[in-house]
Structure formats: structure tokens, C-alpha cells
């Protein structure tokens, strides 16, 4: 087992191209200097981590991989390429036959060492926090996609990220690049069994060059014993669009810190989220939408539910630069509290320096709507059925906005099952 120290970092980076080796070294310095984050810091408020990153070690190799579940497999039967990783190691890779370059970092860094130099690890700073520093210092494998200018790949690329070995930490790194006027869709699935006590620290970097369309669907379905602390950042060029759907279902603690930079004039982002926590799960979303270009549009739309003793956190920041006139920016976060012991935090923020913008935010929190409940029961639906239909409808509003409808349908069925299971156990 490799531990999270200089030796571990050197071992992981043994075949790095020189540009990457330099970055890894810098990150290791940060890792050694930085403390574990604390809830005193605003961006970590409301959440107690209750563990240290060096409680975990790097896996020497992949644990046993699971087959893809039937639902997702059917939804993604026609894909443009797929990679499966377990415990930070690739177990299968089908690079597909599309016009795009798609594959694992371990292959691509050898085949074309310079291809990713301008992208890989450039968006998410190593000094952001100890997890980010650790990611840069210890990440040994990942997946990259580069869609060449003008190419449109219709079928989605599929990236299956699993954790299988308790006590291990992995740092999956996913870098997606849509060059000018290109188009692609990527589905990322995170999963583990309930008894896997592992830590996963993914980085997701999205580069949408001018006039491109990049669609990304993230389905987080970690097992009950797995923690994930992930960072994501997207940079969007002129007239380009990033459409990101994030479904959060699993994990004892799962966190996503996302920043979208709408740099190009006329760029836009649709960020949709659906998350559902139960038992003692913590789901933690920290989103920043940064409008830098003129005439940029953003919409963040997140719906979350909590039951049992689960906690969810959403903090959303819309930041509009002084130059970013004619901006439209909206964020909505709606929360369902399904048990007395569950709680949600929802904190929308605006920071607007331009004067010609349209901006709105809304946040709600509460139980199922009584009037809707009464209406459905008056149609003869019993209590349990009524509640199921309302929970289904609540999430459907978000999932209907996901980039890949077939994946959203599978997520819908998981959410329905999660609620029904709680009902049948008498927990809600």
C-alpha cells in the first residue's frame, strides 16, 4: 500500500511527462502544508468531516469490479466509448470509433504526451484545499476526452468510476475538452457497495471552447460507507454551452464543489441537480456561477430531499463581473424535508457588479405540499401512493432537465425505489 506522502506521490507519478511531474511536486508541497478543512471556513460550513484524509491509503491495484447495472447498461448500450475504473485503476477501456480522442490518462499521456498539457489539472487549483492538493499530488489515473473542432458526437461517452476496497483513497481525474464548434455528451457514474469504506476525491474539468456544446451527466450512487469529496470546474467560451446534470443518491458523505466560468460573450450554462439523502447521509453542494462575459446566461436548478437523519447543504453563488452586462442568471434550490430528524441548508448568494442584468434566486424548504396532497387523495389515491407520486413529481421536475433523458429515467426509478423502501420500512 502506498501512503499519502512524498514517496507515494513519486510512485504514482513515475511515468509523468515533465510538465505533469512539476505540477505534482508543487501540489505535494501544498498537501504537506494544508490542514484538513474545518467547518469554521465558510465553504465548509454546516459539515463536520469527522475523518482525516491520511486515514486512507492508495490502492495498489483495482478491487473487484461490478458489472454495470441492467438499467444503466440498457440506457447506455449505444455509447461512443467507455472506461471503467476501480479504486483509481483502469479495468476496461473502449476508446470507441468516434472523431474524438477518448481514453485513459495512462494511455494518452504516453501516446501523445503534449495533448493534455494545456488542460489537465489547470482548472482546479491545488491550493484550494487539502483534498484538491492531494488530488494533484496522488492522482494516478483518469479519463480524458478531446472532441476536435467541428465534430459532433451524438452518442454519450460513459465513464464508470467504482470504489471496491475499504481503507483506500482514489483520485479519479476526468478532463473533458470540447474544441471549437464541437459537441459531445458524457455520462459519469460513481458507485460502490454499501460496505466499502473508501474515500474518493474526483476532479472534473470541463473545457467548452467557442460555440461548442458539452453535456455532462453525473450519477453519484456511492454505497452507504463511501465518502466522496469532489471538485468540478467548467470554463465556457464564446457562444458555448455547458449542460450539467448531477444526481446525488449515495455516500455517507458526498460533496461537490463546482465553479462555472462563463468567460466568453454569449456563453451559457444549465446546471441541474437532484439529490436524495437518507439514513445519516450528508450531501454537500457548493456551486459558484461566475459571469465574466457579456450577454451570458445561467440557470442553476437543484431539487433535494432528505429523510431519516440526513443532511443536505446547498450554497449557490452567482457572481457577475462589472463587465458582464446583459447577463441573465437564475438559481433555484427546492428542498423536501421528509422526516423530522432530517435537515437541509440552502443558502443562495448574489454578488453583482454589473448594472444591466437580470438575476433571480429562490430557495424553499418544507414537507410535501398539503394542498397537492389533499388534491391527489381526493382522486382516491391512498396516503402512501399520494406521497410517492409527490416525491416522484418533485424530482421529475429536475430530472426532466437532465442532458441524457434515458439516464434520468434510470435515476428516477432509483429515487422512486429509495422512497418506497423507506415507506415500506415505516421510516417516512
Amino acid at each position: 500500500m502506498k501512503t499519502l506522502d512524498a514517496q507515494g506521490s513519486a510512485a504514482v507519478g513515475v511515468s509523468d511527462p515533465s510538465w505533469l511531474a512539476g505540477r505534482r511536486k508543487t501540489a505535494l508541497d501544498y498537501y504537506e502544508k494544508l490542514d484538513m478543512p474545518s467547518s469554521i471556513e465558510e465553504v465548509w460550513r454546516y459539515v463536520e468531516l469527522g475523518f482525516s484524509i491520511d486515514d486512507y491509503v492508495l490502492a495498489e491495484g483495482p478491487g473487484e469490479a461490478h458489472e454495470i447495472g441492467a438499467g444503466i447498461a440498457a440506457a447506455l448500450a449505444n455509447n461512443a466509448g467507455s472506461v471503467a475504473m476501480v479504486d483509481g485503476h483502469t479495468v476496461s477501456a473502449d476508446t470507441g470509433t468516434s472523431a474524438a480522442v477518448f481514453g485513459t490518462l495512462s494511455s494518452l499521456l504516453v501516446e501523445s504526451p503534449d495533448l493534455l498539457e494545456g488542460y489537465l489539472g489547470t482548472l482546479i487549483d491545488p491550493d484550494l484545499d487539502k483534498f484538491s492538493a492531494a488530488h494533484h499530488a496522488f492522482s494516478g489515473e483518469g479519463v480524458a476526452l478531446v472532441v476536435p473542432a467541428g465534430a459532433a458526437v451524438i452518442e454519450p461517452f460513459f465513464i464508470d468510476v467504482q470504489a471496491a476496497t475499504s481503507g483506500t483513497v482514489s483520485f479519479p481525474r476526468i478532463t473533458l475538452v470540447a474544441e471549437k464548434s464541437s459537441q459531445a455528451s458524457v455520462v459519469i457514474r460513481y458507485r460502490s457497495d454499501d460496505d466499502v469504506d473508501a474515500l474518493v476525491v474526483p476532479h472534473l474539468e470541463l473545457f467548452a471552447a467557442d460555440n461548442s456544446n458539452l453535456n455532462v451527466t453525473v450519477v453519484q450512487h456511492w454505497g452507504a460507507g463511501t465518502r466522496s469529496i469532489s471538485h468540478a470546474r467548467a470554463v465556457v467560451g464564446r457562444d458555448a454551452n455547458v449542460h450539467l446534470g448531477e444526481a446525488g443518491l449515495g455516500g455517507s458523505m458526498s460533496r461537490l464543489q463546482l465553479t462555472v466560468d462563463l468567460e466568453g460573450n454569449g456563453s451559457s450554462a444549465n446546471i441541474v441537480g437532484a439529490y436524495f439523502g437518507d439514513a445519516a447521509q450528508t450531501m454537500d453542494y457548493r456551486y459558484t456561477m461566475h459571469h465574466a462575459g457579456v450577454n451570458t446566461n445561467s440557470d442553476m436548478f437543484l431539487k433535494g430531499a432528505v429523510q431519516d437523519e440526513a443532511l443536505s447543504v446547498f450554497t449557490g453563488m452567482i457572481r457577475i463581473d462589472e463587465e458582464a452586462q446583459k447577463t441573465n442568471a437564475y438559481q433555484t434550490n427546492r428542498n423536501l424535508i421528509l422526516s423530522d430528524g432530517a435537515s437541509a441548508q440552502s443558502v443562495p448568494n448574489l454578488e453583482i457588479l454589473a448594472n444591466d442584468v437580470k438575476c433571480g434566486h429562490g430557495s424553499t424548504m418544507g414537507p410535501l405540499d398539503e394542498e397537492q396532497h389533499y388534491y391527489l387523495m381526493s382522486r382516491g389515491l391512498d396516503e402512501e401512493r399520494t406521497n410517492r407520486l409527490l416525491v416522484h413529481g418533485f424530482f421529475n421536475e429536475a430530472l426532466a432537465k437532465f442532458p441524457e433523458p434515458v439516464v434520468a429515467d434510470v435515476v428516477t426509478s432509483w429515487i422512486d425505489t429509495k422512497y418506497r423502501t423507506a415507506q415500506e420500512a415505516g421510516r417516512v
Binding site: L376, M377, R379, L381, D382, L389, F394, F395
Partner: protein, 254 residues
């Protein structure tokens, strides 16, 4: 003809406020009745109390097709044959009308349900609304039509249409009135709750009941409407004039 709805001495309060003070009412099968009264007289409360909304404390008896429904949960009343068409049908985001219809079919042991959905859908021209969210983005008239559609597929013994004509323009009122006549059957008793008499211009109710201050103060034929037009609700019950007075000026807001 036997009785679809038999209401006896129904009383209800909301907190400390007594709203229904002993309501008696009877709607036979095959008939369409109208319950009129000023704002605040308790018409909509009666509707919710009969349906079982839990924000009221209610006593008394209500038989639907001979079966007592008071004390039962809302959904059981519905399955026993009571239907409420809402004054303000609430939007149910993310739930399509078809989703709701599927569930309505599943809770009913009713072999004719699926066929009835299709025929009512054609009759009421509902096809384009069925994949949309329940009441989502519908106009006032469309919402009422959706209510009538759900009533038709539920095949209730008793339908209470709460202010079915409110918020509608005159064409929509006429359409609703025609739909009620269309759905009239020997297996159904209809009670239309309304504030205004204008819907009566387009349909022929068998009886009109007048409610003032939590009681039915008068029951009679359609001629009562003309009487109301002449005198307003005030004359219906001396002593409640203060409550009813604001309605005198505009009992018919056509």
C-alpha cells in the same frame, strides 16, 4: 329514486370559528342541484368537510349512495364514489395528468376504467393536456375542464363542483354548464356550488339550495334564482343581513 347524497346536521368549525351550523341537504340520483349563497356562508367549507379535509372539526352525517363517509379518510371517500371538483385546482409539478390517471386506475377495482379514460378524453378534448403536469400552466377554463375530465373517469356517485364557474369568461361558463349536462346520469347526483346565478342561464338544475351563515335556509325549484335576482340573499334570512349585505350589490356579476 334513491338518494345519492344525504347530508344531515353537518356542523364544522375551523379553530374556534363555527362555520357550518347544522346543514341538511339531499341530492337524489339523476339530479343536478345548485347550492348558492354569499361569500362566507360556508359553501366551500361544506364541500371540503364532505370530502374530508382535515383542517376542520366536523360532526354530523353524510351518506354517499347510502354509505356513511364522515370520519373516513379523504381517499376512502373518493373511492366510495364522492368526487370534488376544486374551485382552485392546485398545480402538481412534475406529475403528469397521465401519471395521475394511472394511479387512479390502480386504486380502483374497475374494469371499465381504461375505456372510460379514452372516451372522456375524446369527449372533453383532453389529449393535449395529458402529458402535461396536472393543472400546470392551464387557463381557468382548462383547469375546470380537467376537473370535469377527472370526474368523468372517476364515475362517482356524487360530484360536488365547487365554484365551477368562478374565474371563467362567459363562453367557458357555458361550456362547463354543457359538460355538466353531458355527464348527467341516473347513477350520479351533482351538487354545484356557486356564488353567482349566471351558470343557471345555461343549464337546468332540478333544485336550488340557498345557504346563509352556515345553514341551508331555503330549497326550491329553479325559480328561486329569479327570486334571488330580485332580492339578494338578505331576504333569505332575517338577522343575517349584516353578513349578507355586501353581496346585495353584485349578486350577479356577469
Amino acid at each position: 329514486m334513491s338518494v345519492a347524497l344525504q347530508v344531515s346536521d353537518v356542523r364544522a368549525q375551523y379553530g374556534d370559528l363555527e362555520i357550518l351550523k347544522g346543514v341538511d341537504l339531499e341530492v337524489p340520483f339523476g339530479e343536478v342541484h345548485v347550492l348558492m349563497g354569499p361569500n362566507g356562508s360556508g359553501k366551500s367549507t361544506l364541500c371540503h368537510v364532505l370530502m374530508g379535509k382535515d383542517e376542520y372539526e366536523a360532526t354530523g352525517s353524510a351518506l354517499v349512495g347510502g354509505t356513511e363517509v364522515m370520519g373516513l379518510p379523504v381517499d376512502e371517500r373518493a373511492r366510495l364514489g364522492l368526487f370534488e371538483a376544486f374551485q382552485y385546482p392546485v398545480e402538481v409539478p412534475g406529475v403528469s395528468l397521465d401519471d395521475l390517471i394511472d394511479e387512479m386506475g390502480e386504486v380502483r377495482d374497475d374494469a371499465g376504467f381504461a375505456a372510460r379514460v379514452e372516451s372522456a378524453s375524446d369527449l372533453l378534448d383532453m389529449a393535449r393536456f395529458r402529458e402535461r403536469a396536472v393543472n400546470g400552466g392551464l387557463s381557468g377554463g382548462e383547469k375546470k375542464r380537467s376537473e370535469m375530465f377527472q370526474m368523468a373517469i372517476s364515475q362517482p356517485k356524487v360530484a360536488i363542483l365547487d365554484e365551477i364557474d368562478s374565474g371563467l369568461d362567459i363562453d367557458a361558463v357555458r361550456e362547463v354548464a354543457h359538460l355538466v349536462e353531458e355527464l348527467r346520469s341516473d347513477d350520479l347526483g351533482v351538487l354545484i356550488i356557486t356564488h353567482y346565478s349566471r351558470i343557471l342561464r345555461y343549464m337546468k338544475p332540478d333544485k336550488i339550495h340557498v345557504m346563509v351563515a352556515g345553514k341551508v335556509v331555503k330549497t326550491g325549484g329553479p325559480e328561486i334564482a329569479a327570486e334571488l335576482e330580485a332580492s339578494g340573499y338578505v331576504e333569505m334570512q332575517a338577522g343575517e343581513a349584516t353578513l349578507a349585505a355586501p353581496e346585495v350589490a353584485t349578486p350577479f356579476d356577469v
